[in-house]
Subunit: 189 residues, 2 copies
């Protein structure tokens, strides 16, 4: 849990008392490889912080899984379009490795915002970061061709490429697994 | 400018002094019909508040304009993916009517966040609202078929349907203008 307090402490100042308070608001959740932090149709009830492991965000379009983002150690995870308005999610968040996640419920997050001196500042800056990242990633899924998508993966997620199964990289790039190696070959020339 | 202070005052409490301070941070900008608040390739330098008029957000895909959102009176406008990281925009924001917009630069917005007592709270809540709306709209462009898109337009933008030219509604629905009336006819049966 130290990493969570450190992450928040990079964004805003936390007194020792506030650090303890923040810790008390989060609870630990273990996810096995393949398990879901969130499924389509569920209301996303938590904001998570990844202490350990790797997850992916995906959606289903025309029966195909479209992976559009990943989260690793020290990333926050949530489907805000579901979490904030308390609407059923149209996206999945799935563990690709055994994960340790610290999670906080919405009412507790509201307390963090209100009762920590710079809580709202933290909330604003954290959401700004996620916002820009997710908007860029969703736009890219819609607009970019497979070659560009593969370049984006290598740029944004190079450090996890050994940890992600090939068929999931293919679902990020937007091609069948067998086409991925052809793209790789073409790009490496 | 009263409407801007009223809008902020609905989200957080503002003292009279803070109201005056907020007003001093914004400047007025008139946009003629067809003019751009933001063009692709420009860095978005302002957050705007629409006092009067109607604008659309669009992007270009394969040479076609894809309208994905609208803004009317009392909405905030910005391309956050450009504004926050100060990167060139890949989207356009265009006036569809003569508009009056109050705009604020990033450094002034930072002052609003820091110097108004509930400034960060305002920033957090305002961005949460825009975030959810834009993520939903971008997902919809990618995933929904024209009939669903037309239903969304009628649900989310019914009050402006008389104000939006037909070819722009078509670019929102994702069809050629001549196909729009066919969809309309089919839906009305």
């Amino acid at each position: 849990m130290h990493s969570l307090v450190a992450k928040i402490g990079k964004i805003v100042r936390l007194s020792e008392q506030e650090q303890a308070f923040v810790q008390s608001l989060f609870s630990k959740r273990a996810l096995d490889k393949g398990e879901f932090f969130l499924k389509e149709g569920q209301v996303c009830r938590h904001l998570g912080f990844v202490e350990q492991g790797l997850l992916r965000y995906y959606m289903i379009k025309d029966g195909e899984e479209i992976t559009y983002s990943f989260a690793v150690e020290y990333d926050f995870i949530s489907n805000y379009e579901s979490f904030l308005p308390e609407q059923p999610s149209d996206k999945y968040i799935q563990a690709l490795e055994n994960c340790v996640v610290w999670q906080i419920e919405k009412t507790s997050l509201q307390r963090l915002y209100s009762e920590v001196r710079e809580g709202d500042r933290f909330g604003r800056i954290a959401i700004e970061q996620v916002f820009v990242q997710l908007l860029n990633r969703l736009s890219s899924v819609y607009r970019d061709d497979p070659e560009t998508r593969y370049l984006r993966f290598m740029e944004e997620h190079r450090e996890i490429q050994q940890r992600v199964p090939q068929y999931i990289i293919a679902s990020y790039v937007g091609v069948k697994p067998q086409s991925l190696s052809r793209i790789r070959k073409r790009m490496s020339q």
